[in-house]
């Protein structure tokens, strides 16, 4: 299944792109997504430290993804 992953701020600059498309297997979790991204993009924090949002909600690493989900790697926020 296709999952779009958005990258922001420092992660976007590390990756050199703001968007990746991953091909994951049905039943794959946020943890699988994080491992796939860190394998593709050197220089990110370790996969188990990545904070991930799915469809605009923060999700734990055991959250199961569905085809067409929009995911995002969220670096430490610093708004305000």
């Amino acid at each position: 299944m296709k999952i779009t992953v958005y990258l922001f701020a420092t992660y976007r600059e590390i990756a050199g792109t703001g968007r990746l498309t991953l091909d994951l297997a049905p039943g794959d979790t946020v943890a699988s997504l994080a491992s796939s991204v860190t394998a593709l993009v050197p220089g990110l924090p370790p996969a188990d430290r990545l904070v991930v949002a799915v469809n605009n909600e923060y999700r734990d690493h055991d959250f199961i993804l569905s085809d067409g989900d929009e995911a995002a790697l969220i670096p430490p926020v610093s708004g305000g």
Binding site: A9, T10, P45, V51, A53, P75, P76, V77, G79, G80
Partner: protein
């Protein structure tokens, strides 16, 4: 009541949104870009957001405020893009019958925004730039309001 914009923020306009005949207290917070960080001179700043998630998380902060305190109004505006020193990046206005609620809710909102809203700040120094944000403190799922 929630606004994320590239335009200059107008604190008076945000405050006007929370006026209410039953409001005895209005507390307004303005977050402004400082000319230094830990003694290092900052030249300019840039804010980036993940939208519409940032909008939704700001709405969530406003809802948490309304649930926790008896308020007559809440308005939040966050600026994006490049800002000069002294410009407002965030304005929160809260009104309530009594001042303690308004102060507590307003202070809470700023802390909470800095915990969960996907907005990032880059500081431009002479000869360098850096995305602000501490990996060690960042736990938007674990942290409770």
């Amino acid at each position: 009541m929630i606004e994320i914009t590239h335009d200059e923020l107008n604190a008076a306009e945000v405050e006007a949104r929370v006026r209410h005949p039953g409001a005895g207290a209005i507390v307004v917070f303005v977050g402004a870009t400082r000319d230094n960080t830990a003694g290092r001179k900052v030249l300019a700043l840039e804010y980036e957001a993940y939208r519409p998630m940032a909008d939704e998380q700001l709405e969530r902060v406003a809802s948490e405020m309304q649930e926790r305190w008896d308020l007559t109004g809440v308005a939040i505006a966050h600026r994006l893009g490049r800002l000069d020193i002294g410009e407002a990046s965030l304005v929160v206005a809260v009104s309530s019958a009594h001042r303690k609620e308004a102060f507590d809710a307003c202070h809470f909102s700023v802390d909470r925004i800095k915990q969960i809203v996907p907005i990032w700040k880059k500081e431009y120094f002479e000869g360098g730039e850096v995305w602000v944000g501490s990996q060690a403190d960042f736990d938007p799922i674990g942290v409770r309001p």
